[in-house]
Subunit: 442 residues, 4 copies
């Protein structure tokens, strides 16, 4: 996909499949497959089908001219059929577009574009997940602060954190792949969905078209029942959301004051010589933030009138390719951001200790609760935390100064209690579960 | 769901499950199940779990007061835990909320609300589909105009048209049910997702909680990885879109100038004594039109920071129940609209004939193309259609006056060609396929 | 704007201003104006400013290459500045981009693109409004059915109906023009918004840049405070909504069964020789339906971090031009649809009479209410309407057969009461008010 | 507004005006004003108008029952008019709802609700802006790091940063107030917008209704031309976006690792004794994040059919009050967050110095560029920044070790160049401009 902003929102193979030229080729592929399916069903001569197939090469057509000529009828299929017919000899020319209405070709081509854009998109998601699996294993015990509402809360490990990303990626990817399997189907119904102009051969041509293109055969035409593109849009939106969550975390972890990760490539600034921007994560976010609005457009466009919509269907034409392009680009950017991600374990540890042990207060409260009861223990810690913060002292110090605490815990007990590595709960099992699920998902 | 607009957007059982009192009960059900799961895992005494369970009844708590008190901490779970603790004796009081963070309870309750709202919602969709199946069978051969861009295009049958609705409903319902099966899971991770405060019992408590509530056990906590609610939102949006499409068709078919269907109940007007409004279909539309924006909110809210989000998660709290309520209401209204729908076959036939046979022009072109070739045939019909429209004559008459046509078709041939019932293509098979798929979906 | 779908969503002058090449020229125009403003403020030598200005011609740069090179830094301005510098001799080359950060150039260019796309967009809205004013005057007394919930309700006139469209267009256009006047401003702040690298000359350069480009000078830089593009998006969304309403009405009025208007051009079908589709109105709708989702993207993107956003700002780059393109195309299509719109007054009248006078029932109720009281009158008419519909009789006939009615109204009274032309209320004044407001708005 | 989540999304006076009971009172206020306007125009007896007015008190009606009864006709106005009529004696009862259709009452009530909810909402925005003005003045010279893509970029002052917030709030508030002034109008047109049932008195009743309610008089009825609510939604969305930006910055500044601000109240955690969450900012964000989807719903709902919409208008009923409630709550929360905000200037300074002077590299490059030229200077600094980061040394030290640098700058020069307080550009003027604009906006 060329263009001024292509570097950001038109990244990689998935995006390339959604460019205008790829869509034009998909339209032609549908016309070609239709001719061959017609030949198999006996409504198109075999020779004509071969000639039509051979002519269906995007580079032979003037994309911009086709675009311009579409104005009169409102659909690019009319001038495309005209142009395709014009380059064919009789009688092959007569058999172009047999039995189809413009929407049949546009809808099937849209599904074909998705069919071609999804494998690289899913592969980028899978590669990002693979990288998460490596990071989860490698940083199984790398301590850092768990943060809620951007406040340090409890110690976690980077491996455990990434295990959450991994599960998110795997589930979103799995669902997207499955939804694609189910929803990507051909469209063929003719002018009002009845296949009337094909006579008795109609159903055979539909089946043949599906076979030719490797797409599913729908129960009935879905000209104005858009559950297929809608479910796909929802699954794309979900995948984008997971990508955005991870990219957002990367940007936060790379913030100067946090500094726990760094993109291998990074990006300079036009004016600031010292900048090392998380450009891949930012690019991913710039793509994912555009997705919810487009999904809403796809869902709102489902209100389509009778046998062909007056506007809502046409609103899908550019929207679905854009969705594929943006989610594909986002997945690629995330993969880039994670590949070679530099993890600064020392900085993680240093940040963890910046609160003077305050984020171990739940651990201390839990230990004290065994003998003091939960309410009293929570009270002791709330006071201790307040005191520690007010006087800039470490929690350990404040607790040791409290006779109530000393009655229940020795200094050695307290050290054990305040050790972050000792308060990780089920982190190890969670990492194992995420890795196991990832193995199964591959 | 009480309220001023409840009749429209708060219809039926699905909506009732999403009201504030139902959410409060769900929150309490989670606390109760958590106590029982804790007991099974040995971290809560059995007697305490029983006492906690027994206390978890929404009617015993002041909903509005809880709402008000939530302001200080930003979550209603804090005052709820306080209120629940207050009504329990020691030591049971100490064991309330063991191991959980507020988000664990809110997220699990949200899933529980969905788990309870979806069966009636799916049942309404199924009932609407059943009614479509009846209509498809009954009106298998009832002719009406197929309309594209609101222009009469080709004859179809009402049964064939409804078969499309049926497939839309069945597919959207099937996907929604499946997505729900996969995504509705408990949430339990404690303050930073590690289950630290539960010590080694953590995973057992998660498993127990899932068992107690009939929800799935997730691979790892999903506090900030929101693929589950997002996929659910997408599937709800898809179902809403199908409902909106059908309701939109009903409104168009009921328009005064079309008059082909009529809602059994209908609705009067405050000022117009003669009105018979399609109120159920309109109510369905008023619900479905609000869905895409809410799905976008759910997807945009997926960008959640680190271990707990600062705002985006909280944006889901009212949005997901609203989605369930609106899609549930829409499904209920569509069921109402279809139940007892009055179909005026005579009016359908009369409308079909209003263009003087013009919508049979494709059939005539197809017949002529056999001998004339498609381009010439299309040209003959374009001219004939223009002439018929210009002089207000029937297409048959104009064609019979054309010597070129008469050379290829006898008047009897032409009558056969122009008979709408003879130009229905695969309609019968399509109805059969839709009915078969419906049988399998049940 | 070239491309496969350009005929629909890339129509006309407003769209042309939003293409990649126009955006590139706008970026260069900003660099040129910045150099001249710098010269005026004494921080750039005059000769350098002249050389820079002369070099800023889009055709001299390789758009696709710039797009590709942007990947490393995440913004196209970095390679553009590099390319621009490369074509300049020293010392002019040193003065390219003086004092600016990439966002300054991208934001100012975005405003410039809007500044150029809005005049043709507003002109198309104005032309559509002018045409509405003509139609309102011409069809001041042309009776047709007023329709609520698509049911005939009361007589209105086509002029009165169009007067509503006119007011909608004029208000939306007026607000959009005003919002543009207020919001279209330059952006110049340097790397963190302080203008630090320009030293004391900063404010003078900002003022000069605004003067050079004919844009407003903002109070302070608005790098991450996006009220300007957001308000613009809202006003564009409002204009699109009005266009969509009118286009939707045109499609409904052109429906075969209604047939009250017809687009002069109309559109054929690839398969149906007799079709005369309202293609301009449909194209307008296909554009407007995509607008709400894009406006939501612009609003959601307002959450921008600190002094430059990590993703949300970048999400605006393609979204705002798309919005301008779609609303501009929609306005153009509506203008087309209205220009030469064929209004079938006879068909309007015939449709009005299809209910056998039922839509005059409020008029009859009002007349009877004078002597019978409103409740009794409403009851009489509800019964009469039911009887008329049940037996296929005209309302007049049924009412004349009711002794209660005859006691209050003579047949002549009743004929006067049932004359649609006599029950138009304030229609004439409303048309006058709309036309007067239109005169003032021009 | 009571309810489980009221503390977050139903905060304060603006929200209270959008509750069901307030909407019911607004509906009754419209009926009362309509009766009085009718009396003034001579179509309702003065005594009847007085009796109707006196009866229009929300507490006398059963809100939930009205909601339930609305199901039959699809609008709550029908049962409300019935209930109001039932409590009045004849003949006053006959004059309830004179000349109006349900939509007239619902639309005017919606505008009235906005008219009542906006003053407290605007007051909260103004109070937040006032607080920003104080902070801008007080922290005029308080240094902190300007951050782009969350990377420290250049020094700014907190006063300068807040000046940006101030301008955002003032502009969004000013536009919202202005849009409200223009758009909040009465609706009165009767069943099809012609005011037919009011006879010649129609226009006078409209004018009287506007006068009675303090709302504008529209040029013509706007039943299906929704530019008024749409513009309002856009302006509300813009205000929400500004609030969200500021709240987002507060959350980031309050992050443990940054720690530059702290909410006076803060919020504890149910499990973590040491947490001090920025609950007000988080609550603001949870409201603002729901706004873009709702604005999209309002814009998409503009496609309304003919003289009354079949679904889209009804989709506005709950959406506009929700928008007002959420934006009102967000404004209130932001005001809370800013009131008594604790600013830690020492921490700001300490964070600024954490990069060892790296964020002064642009300043150093600018100084060197005077003699070295920009490209060479940029190169020197890029290398120096790399060296400083790689070896953990201060930028000053690295630069002093570079003979090239020493040739151009003495150590004293360098200290001056590297002083953050000396590289603030136009900050002071920007603060002054923002404060002046704020003075004018009040």
């Amino acid at each position: 996909v060329p263009g001024l902003f292509a570097a950001v929102s038109g990244r990689g193979a998935a995006a390339a499949e959604t460019g205008d030229r790829s869509i034009l080729q998909a339209l032609l592929d549908v016309e070609a497959a239709l001719a061959r399916a017609g030949a198999a069903a006996g409504v198109v001569p075999a020779a004509a089908a071969e000639q039509i197939s051979a002519a269906c090469v995007a580079d032979r057509f003037d994309l911009d001219a086709l675009g311009r000529e579409a104005a009169g009828t409102g659909t690019v299929v009319v001038p495309l059929v005209r142009a395709l017919t014009a380059v064919l000899p009789d009688p092959a020319a007569h058999y172009v577009h047999t039995g189809a209405t413009s929407q049949d070709v546009l809808d099937t081509a849209a599904m074909l574009v998705a069919h071609r854009a999804l494998p690289p998109l899913l592969a980028d998601l899978a590669a990002a997940a693979d990288r998460c699996a490596e990071l989860a294993e490698e940083h199984r015990g790398t301590l850092l602060a768990g943060r809620t509402l951007l406040q340090q809360a409890l110690p976690v490990t980077f491996g455990g954190k990434v295990a959450g990303w991994l599960v998110g990626l795997d589930e979103a990817r799995g669902w997207l792949a499955e939804v694609a399997d189910r929803t990507l189907a051909v469209q063929l119904g003719g002018a009002a969905g009845t296949l009337a102009s094909l006579g008795p051969a109609g159903p055979a041509v539909v089946a043949g078209l599906a076979r030719e293109l490797g797409l599913a055969e729908p129960t009935v035409p879905w000209h104005t029942l858009r559950q297929r593109p809608a479910m796909l849009a929802g699954a794309l939106g979900t995948a984008a959301g997971v990508v955005g969550k991870i990219a957002g975390d990367l940007v936060l972890l790379a913030a100067t004051e946090v500094g726990e990760v760094r993109e291998a490539a990074g990006g300079g600034s036009s004016t600031l010589p010292h900048k090392h921007n998380p450009v891949a994560a930012v690019a991913a976010l710039s793509c994912t933030e555009r997705v919810p609005g487009l999904v809403a457009t796809m869902l709102a466009a489902m209100r389509q009138e009778h046998e062909r919509a007056a506007g809502s269907w046409q609103a899908e034409w550019e929207t679905l390719p854009q969705l594929l392009r943006l989610v594909g680009s986002a997945a690629g950017w995330l993969r880039d951001a994670l590949t070679g991600l530099q993890v600064d374990a020392a900085r993680m540890r240093a940040n963890l200790e910046r609160t003077g042990g305050l984020l171990m207060s739940e651990a201390a409260a839990t230990a004290l609760a065994r003998t003091l009861g939960p309410r009293a223990a929570h009270h002791v810690l709330t006071e201790a935390a307040r005191g520690a913060r007010a006087h800039g002292r470490a929690l350990r110090e404040v607790l040791l100064a409290d006779p109530e605490v000393r009655r229940h815990l020795t200094p050695a007990d307290l050290d054990a209690v305040l050790d972050p590595a000792g308060y990780l709960g089920a982190t190890a099992q969670q990492i194992d579960r995420a890795l196991r699920a990832h193995e199964e998902a591959r």
